[in-house]
Structure formats: C-alpha cells, structure tokens
C-alpha cells in the first residue's frame, strides 16, 4: 500500500502537502493528530491547523498511542494522515516512554499497513548544536526516527518553501 513520508522544516508546507496528497487517494480520510493542547499557544496552533485542512476528515487524537490508533484506523478504503511524528516523539520523551520500541512498532506497522498512509515529520538537525543534553538528545532521536521511517516508506518528500523534492519513490 502507498506509504509516504513528508519531511521538512517548520512552516515549509508539510501539512498542506499531506492534505493535498490525501485527496483522491481513498473515499474516506482520517487525520491522526499527535499534538496535545497543553498550553494556549499550542491550542491555538492546533485550531489553526484544523481550520486549514477544512472538512472531509475524521480527526483522531493520539499524542502517545499512535500505533494503536493506526491499527484501528487503517483500511484499504481509507487514507490516514499522521501530523506529526515530531510531536509524537516529543510526547514519548516527555512521558518517559521507550522510543526505540515505539519506533520499531511504528516501522513494523508501516511495512504491513493494509491502507494508504501519509506521515509528516520535521527536520530539526540543520541548526547549530543545541546547548543542552536534552536538546541534543531530541535532535538525535528525531534524526533516527526520520531515517527509520524513511527506510520503510515507499515515497519520501522533502519540503522547502512549500515545494516538494522527491527523496525516494
């Protein structure tokens, strides 16, 4: 089944690209949001994203139990958009979950999903070395997650200024 990873910087057009690619893929569309509305700034960001993507999606929230949500959502007649792996990773680390085990479960799921799947993730490793061990740990974990997911997806796109470059597929 078609599996696509869309990776790029902040405000590079990743979410819009995912929405665009999900059109005409399947009659039914599920949006899996990994954000938690933990503060007003984040709540505002979530609300803007919801407005941007318009109607036509069923939204499911999965800040931590992403793989479970995907198991329930996946179907040949339904395209699933995950936005985004960066917040999921951030939540996993914040709550002390086993990132390696979760990554392995996610890549196993992607490799055998019965339905089309589009995942969004951030590139965060192209600035200076972060000043704190926590920052460096997150940056490294995000890079490893992106590599692991890219390796099992059929197509990978890199977004810059709203424009996609094909990295794979």
């Amino acid at each position: 089944m078609e599996t696509i990873l869309i990776v790029g910087g902040a405000r590079s057009g990743k979410s819009q690209r995912a929405i665009e690619l999900s059109r005409d893929t399947a009659p039914d569309r599920i949006f899996v949001a990994t954000a938690e509305a933990s503060d007003p700034e984040m709540a505002d960001r979530i609300e803007r994203h919801r407005a941007d993507r318009g109607p036509g999606f069923t939204t499911v929230e999965a800040p931590l139990e992403l793989v479970d949500a995907l198991e329930r959502a996946a179907s040949p007649d339904r395209v699933v958009v995950v936005d985004c792996l960066t917040l999921w990773l951030s939540n996993l680390m914040h709550y002390g979950r086993d990132v390696e085990a979760q990554t392995a479960a996610l890549t196993r799921f992607i490799a055998r999903t019965p339905g089309p799947l589009i995942l969004v993730s951030n590139e965060v490793g192209m600035g200076l070395v972060p000043g704190t061990p926590l920052g460096r740990g997150f940056r490294d974990a995000q890079g490893s997650l992106n590599q692991a997911v890219a390796a099992v997806c059929g197509r990978v796109e890199f977004m810059v200024a709203g424009l996609p470059m094909a990295l794979k597929g």
Copy 2:
C-alpha cells in the same frame, strides 16, 4: 518576466548565486539591500557583501519600504536583485508593521513586475523549536513568507554548500 527566488541557509552561497544569475540578464542592474547598519557587526557584514558583489550594480537601501523601491526600480531593461527577504521581515516585525499586508503587496508586485527580479531569502526552520515566542513567531513568519513568494516566482532554487537545487521552474 523572469522571477527567481533563491532560498537557503546562512552562508550557503545565496547572494553569490543571485549575482551570478543577474549577469547577462539585462544591461542595467539594481541591488536592493534590506539590511540596516544598526550595529558594527551588521555594518561589517554589509560592507563585505558590497565588496563581494563588485562594481556594476546601483545599490538602493530599502529596510522597510521594499515594495515601493521595487515599483521604482523595475523595468524591462533592468534586473533587480533583492538581498534579502529575511532582513526585510525582521525589520518589519521590529518596527511593528503589518507583515501579512506587506507580503501580499510583495507577491502582487512579483506577479506583475515588468522586469527580471531575483530575490534571496533564508531557510530558518530546520533547527530545534526556538525557546522563545518571539523566535517561534519569526520562524513561522519566515516560513510563510518563503511559501508565499515561492508560489508566485517562476523559478525557485534551494542552495546547499554553494550549489543550487531546482525546486521549481
């Protein structure tokens, strides 16, 4: 008319690429500088840039009134280089101008310019999430500006290590 956006990281060769593309485009060349020499480090940076591009340019300074400067400069016989949108955005935000209205005026201008135009802008969204609301706001505004300008330019290039990749056109 040919309109080109050159986007990339710091010291990726964006300015030199813009200068290079402006050669042979038109007999007359205007360089629109958006930097303000607000401190010695910036004054030094401006001076080095001026030395790097050599003679053959008329330089116009437009830290805020970029669209006005472009209206005056644009002509079929003249290529205009804008370096860079990142400092323009930073100046707009610093002086509390309406970024959305300015972006709209700029994209309208680009869509109907009578002469060739080359714009330089920074990619700033591929590091960790900035630690302050101001930093996050700037990063988001820069990403949105890059997307809006890329959408109306005929050609978009992404620079890495002094080498261009075509994103569009």
Copy 3:
C-alpha cells in the same frame, strides 16, 4: 581521483552513507576521525560511531592536523573517509588556528589527492540566527568551509532522513 563531500544535518545518515560509498572503492580503507574525546558524552558518541562502522577500517585520529594525516594516508589503493569537517573546524577555532589557511590547505589537497576521498560535513545554517557572536562566527565559518570543499570535490551529496540527493556530479 574520486572525491566526494557528504553534507547534511545531525543524524541524517551522513556517516553511514560515507561508509557505504567507501565499500568496493579500494581494497584498503582508512577512517580519519576528527573528534576529541573531551568529555564523557563525546567519548560515548565516538565509541558508538566506531561500533557502527564495524571492522575493515584503520582508524587515524586527527582533531587538528587533518591535512598532514591526509597526506600520509592517501594512496591510489586506499579510500580515505574523513568524519567530520565540522568537528575539525570546531577544534581549529577552539585552539585559535588559522581557519582560512587550513581550508586553503585542505582544498589544495583535495584537488590533487592521488586516492579516493570521502568527506563528511554538517549543514548548520538553517536554524534561527544564533544568539551569540561565537555561534554566528561558527555558523558562517562552517558555511564557507562547506562551499570551499564542495567547489573542489567531484561529487557532492545532501542527506535528509538517511537518503542522498545529488548536488553535484
């Protein structure tokens, strides 16, 4: 002789790509490590890298005297992997060496090396402007070094999420 620069963000798969490209290039392989085990975090990182690349390499440490190490190592029968120019630059700046002279010596070496050479470097200029002069200086020096090395290498690749894009060659 084949000379390749691999540039990318943190954890983008640069080192693995260099190892992969070095296979079948020449019977003998030298790994030039520029890291200094100056603290436990760095020592741990060096050890993980050594384990990742497996046997089949002779490792040489050259935190500062990189060009000397390359002069000694280079041979038509031997592929040399340098990992990475970012730590070398950081060491040069930390110990107050002449970065311009060192860069010139390195690019002269690359242009006339008798054997295959693969160099790894980081892209660090796609985040927000660093908050300190030291940070801005490092970011600028890294960008200039990447441009200078890319200009003399026969092939340049940009890594994102473990996947290479050809920038040159």
